[in-house]
Each structure stands twice: as C-alpha cells, then as structure tokens.
Symmetry: C2
Subunit: 271 residues, 2 copies
C-alpha cells in the first residue's frame, strides 16, 4: 500500500525523486500479526510515531487510519501470520534536499514462525555508532557494507561499539548475563527495541537487572549473551570476536527467558 | 532513464523493494554539460566507479555504455545546459538485506548557470563524520535532519568536524586561505571533490598550498574561506559559528580563484 492505495507487490512503484532514493532519508518499523492478532502493535506504533516526529515526517500520519489500512491489507491478502513493514520517507522534494509531504509505504511479508530457541550466532564487534541512534531510520549502509568482512571473520553478525562501550547489532539489541549474574543491556545511543523491553520486563521475575551500559570487558566476561529482535526474538550469542561467551552454549537464563518470550508472543491472551 | 530504459520524469518509478528505500544503500555522482559539452566528465565517472567498487555496486556498470546513455538522454531532451545525476542502488534484495543486481538511474535537470562569484554564505560547525566518507553515498540523513538547527542559528549550511578537525560541508568541500596565506583544505575522511581538485590545481599559480588538514583554530583565524562544489563552484564563506572570517567579505584569493575556475568551466577548450 502506497499512500493509502492498494497495489500489488510486483507493481509497487515509487518515484525516483523520493528523498529515500535521493538522500537516504526515511524511517520505518516492523511488526507481526500472528494468527490474525497483532504482536505488541501499540509499542511499535508508539515508536514509529516517535521516529516520525524526530525526523519531521509526521505530517498526515494518523494512528487510527494506519491501523485500518493494516487490517484491510491483511484481510485483502488473507495472511494469518504476517510481517508488516511501515516506511515513511521524506517525499518528493523539488530541490532534492528538503522534506516535502512524506510518502507512506506499507508492505506485507508472509511469515514462517519458529516456536523454539534458534541456533546460536557468532558476533564480531566493530567501532561504529548509528546516526540518530534512537530513531529507526532506513540507514543500514554500514551494516550491509560490513557483510563480507563479517563473513570473512567466520561470524554471523556484527555488534557496534563506541570505544569500549558495546552498543547494538544493526537489527537487534544485545543483552548479557554478566559475571555477577545480572541481566545487562546498553540503554544509551541505541534503538530501544520492543522485544528487548519485553524481555527486560520478563527478566524481573528471574534475575537482577543492571542499569549499566555494557562494556567490552563485561561482554567478554559474560556468563551468557543473546540478541533480541522482532524477527529473531531471543537468539543466543555463542561467541564475540572469536572468544566463547560462558560455555559457548546457550545458558540457562537465555533458555528460560526465551521460553517466557515465546509464551508471551504466541499467547492468544497477549496484552 | 532506469536500467537503460528511457522514461518520463513523472513516471520514473522504482520498486519499493529496492535497497535504497529499504536500507539507504546507494551511491551517486552529479555533473554538468554546458553548451552540449561535458564538464570534468572523466573525473566524475572515475569517482562514480570508485564509489561503486567501494560499495560493491559495480556489477554490469560499463563506462562506454554509460556515456552513450547520457548523450542519448541529453539529445532526446534537447538540453544544452544540464545537470546529470547517476544513481546506483543495491537493487531488489529478496531478503531485504543483501545486495542484488544494482539499479542504475540517470536523471537530467535543466540548469540556469551563473558566471560570477555567488553571494557569500554563513556556516556553523557540527560534530559529525559521514560513514565511508570517501564514497559519494546517498546518505544525507544528518544534513537534512540538521536543517532547522542551521536556520535557527542564522546560518546557510553546516561544516562537519571530527573533534577539532574540520571535515567538509554535506555537499561541498571547504578551503581556507590560512593565517600564513596558504591554501588549506582537509584531505582525510572527506569526499575528494572534483571542483576542489581543480581549484587546488589552479591555486598552484597563485598561492602556496598547505598539506595539513584544517583545524577549528585555523578556520577561525583564516584570512579567507570558501566552499567548492559542482553546483556552487567557488562560493565565499563569510562567517563560521557567528565569527567573521577575515574581513567578513570575499577576499582577493577567493575572487581570483573563482575567476580562474569560471574560465575553466565555461571554456570551450576545456580539457
């Protein structure tokens, strides 16, 4: 759906004059409907509106209208389990440089869901901080540029760091169970992940929470580590920069929190 | 023109699945034809190919074919003085994250040219460094985001700095005539501007060249300052962060170099 008009994915076209193509200027959010029910929809829409305000792309954006468009798209496509991406761009600028009326794009992708703990991944750390890190922009330039470097190191993904402070993965937050047995995650200069926030709530029943941002030394010394995201839920981290985290296998807190989260995401009585 | 197909600007559409819209991943270059003749075309194509290689977007890119497409577009549109933008994006990725066959877009804009020294501008400095600064990416997120902040300071544009080192404006290089009377410009972690390079060549006849990157203190103490770009050629800088540069008026070296550059750009015997 582009600006409220239903279009087929194959013919979902867009002017080359848009500020996303001209200047990489846009924001988005991504969330799921499972068994026709939204998963954490309010949180995602809150964040989308926050991103839009921060980037001055909120003109014409209406929450009730947006929800109506999403529902109509889901039923038009008869998709029971579906990923929804909402993208807002800077629109068609006459001068190619100023924000004009934003363009709104909604795209649907059928989902195949897994309901268990995914296999663990290996990370490398890399010095980089996203621009406007608290906004979910479309800027993944560094993440995509780094892909061959990540593969060459035998890793699956990268975690950014600013000096010694660990930040986030390009599409996920990082949490650790630190050497003191506390759950620790970096809260400054990162995107506030919806899944991460749910995990922090769930974790209160299980482990103490640290309020400190993660330092590289904390990460290397951690008992367990995992990433959180809408797509990957809780995915264990087995190693960072070639060093095993804990035993190099998913740990007990990771497993317990993953079970809690799966319960929450797949519950019919989801809040 | 999209992937070799001639299309009207109004109907020049593009799939929303392209990596530029999904992930802000693309490069471009911009140059002019004046009176049917290319201006520094070889330099611009060299840089475009450099950008494409750095971003792994060179697949299918052929220099002779590209020049033929540009010429045919100019004659099809009968544009004597024209700006040409060539954009290369990451293509349509199935997973929305990996580079696929790049998309090539060529757009033309009629130009109205001025042949004198433009009015001076006021800059503010701001701590930021472009990611992959030696590549002409489509990433202008920070530049556009900063616009209201620039206006609120009564300025016309921003110059980025990394700590005390002055880098570049979002769409131009900065040069100064420093307190010793040397032409000085930052060469590391900035885009190597084609116009800047021409000015450095022209300047050899006029002033000594410094090889040092510009520090904030150099800038504040400069006798003269100007920016260089394909669009703005040499444009004087009158003030930075509210402090006058030199007398606060365009200086003698700026004027002389501007005349040299205009001569070169508008010469029929341009190399």
């Amino acid at each position: 759906m582009i600006n409220g008009h239903l279009v087929d994915a194959d013919s979902a076209n867009f002017s080359v004059g848009d500020m996303a193509i001209q200047r990489g200027y846009g924001v988005f959010d991504f969330f799921k409907f499972i068994n026709w029910q939204p998963v954490f929809l309010d949180d995602h829409l809150d964040r989308l509106f926050h991103s839009a305000r921060q980037m001055r792309l909120e003109e014409g954006l209406d929450r009730e209208d947006l929800i109506a468009q999403i529902i109509s798209l889901i039923y038009a496509n008869q998709l029971k389990d579906v990923g929804i991406r909402i993208t807002l761009t800077g629109g068609y600028a006459e001068d190619g440089y100023s924000i004009h009326r934003p363009n709104l794009i909604i795209t649907l992708t059928p989902l195949t869901l897994r309901r268990d703990l995914p296999p663990g991944i290996r990370l490398i750390s890399h010095p980089f901080q996203r621009q406007l890190p608290e906004v979910k922009t479309i800027d993944y330039l560094m993440a995509i540029w780094l892909q061959p470097f990540i593969k060459a190191q035998g890793a699956d993904d990268v975690v950014y760091r600013n000096g010694e402070t660990i930040l986030e993965c390009p599409r996920a937050n990082l949490c650790i169970i630190n050497a003191n047995g506390e759950l620790q995650t970096t809260r400054t200069n990162v995107l506030a992940g919806i899944t991460r926030n749910k995990v922090l709530e769930l974790a209160q029943q299980r482990v103490p929470l640290s309020q400190q941002d993660i330092q590289l030394a904390d990460l290397y010394a951690a008992r367990e580590a995992f990433i959180t995201s809408t797509t990957k839920l809780i995915t264990p981290v087995l190693s960072v920069d070639g060093q095993w985290i804990g035993t190099g296998h998913p740990g007990p807190v990771t497993k317990a929190l993953s079970a809690d989260l799966l319960q929450l995401v797949f519950s019919d009585n989801r809040p």
